[in-house]
């Protein structure tokens, strides 16, 4: 039963992704991308990554739609390349081959939720045991983000801040 529900979600994900690429009207592509990231959020939530699902639902389905629409304000609403060139033959053969290779390699990964996988035998217990003594933070996720990987988080914040400034400048010029 659980398995079939995952399959349903993945089918919806594939349908929306293909529709967003194939549809000619860019406005419809934006709406389809919004539903695509919502289904992605459902998949994250189903796999137990609630934080990632929250970010995907808020940023992907909410904020990205608005940003894309603001882009459409400044550009044309139609896809001007109505007659797209067909994909090259090499890509048609090489990409499915790559997919098969990746699926074959994924066989060696530990099963989902496996308690004996390396990640859950070495890293997770160490964080759970030591994080409170090391950082005095009751929330483990916060201590990992803000203490163990604080440099990472800082540079990420710099990237997002720069993107925000760029968006603000572009939108201001468009308004005047």
């Amino acid at each position: 039963m659980t398995f079939s529900f995952e399959i349903l979600l993945l089918i919806l994900l594939l349908v929306t992704a293909a529709g967003a690429i194939l549809v000619k009207d860019l406005m419809s592509a934006i709406l389809l991308l919004g539903s695509y990231s919502f289904f992605l959020a459902l998949v994250w939530a189903w796999l137990g990554a609630v934080d990632v699902a929250f970010v995907e639902a808020v940023v992907g389905a909410g904020l990205a739609t608005v940003l894309f629409l603001l882009t459409l304000f400044g550009t044309a609403p139609k896809d001007s390349r109505l007659r797209r060139p067909p994909p090259p033959i090499a890509a048609l053969f090489a990409l499915p081959l790559l997919g098969v290779l990746l699926l074959y390699a994924a066989n060696d990964l530990p099963k989902f939720g496996d308690p004996t996988s390396p990640a859950s035998t070495h890293i997770s217990p160490a964080y759970l045991e030591r994080s409170y003594q090391d950082t005095q933070t009751p929330n483990v996720v916060t201590s990992v983000l803000m203490d163990y990987r604080s440099l990472d988080t800082m540079v990420e914040t710099v990237v997002i801040f720069t993107a925000g400034i760029a968006c603000a400048l572009l939108l201001r010029r468009q308004a005047s």
Binding site: S4, L31, T65, F73
Partner: protein, 88 residues
């Protein structure tokens, strides 16, 4: 009880498929917007139901609320775009 919730989840996702047909196929932009709004109403229920299946309703209610608020904002943005640019 979990089986019941799972059954409801599957039925809701199949219903989302019906809305998705309208979003993909819809001849006018309003069909697509309405289909997307219908998907989002199902989406909120699906998220809360997932929370009951995992027995972590409190976190999933947060996601559902955030999604509902931002989806309203998306619909407003679409309406404002159509108002300023006219129908495509």
């Amino acid at each position: 009880m979990t089986t019941f919730f799972l059954f409801v989840l599957v039925v809701l996702v199949i219903l989302i498929g019906a809305y998705l047909y309208r979003v993909l196929q819809g001849p006018t932009i309003f069909d697509r917007v309405l289909g997307l709004n219908g998907i989002s109403t199902k989406a909120i229920i699906v998220l809360v139901l997932m929370g009951t299946v995992f027995e972590r309703v409190d976190m999933f209610v947060d996601i559902a609320t955030g999604y509902a608020l931002l989806n309203l904002m998306g619909a407003l943005a679409v309406a404002k775009y159509l108002e300023q640019k006219g129908l495509p």
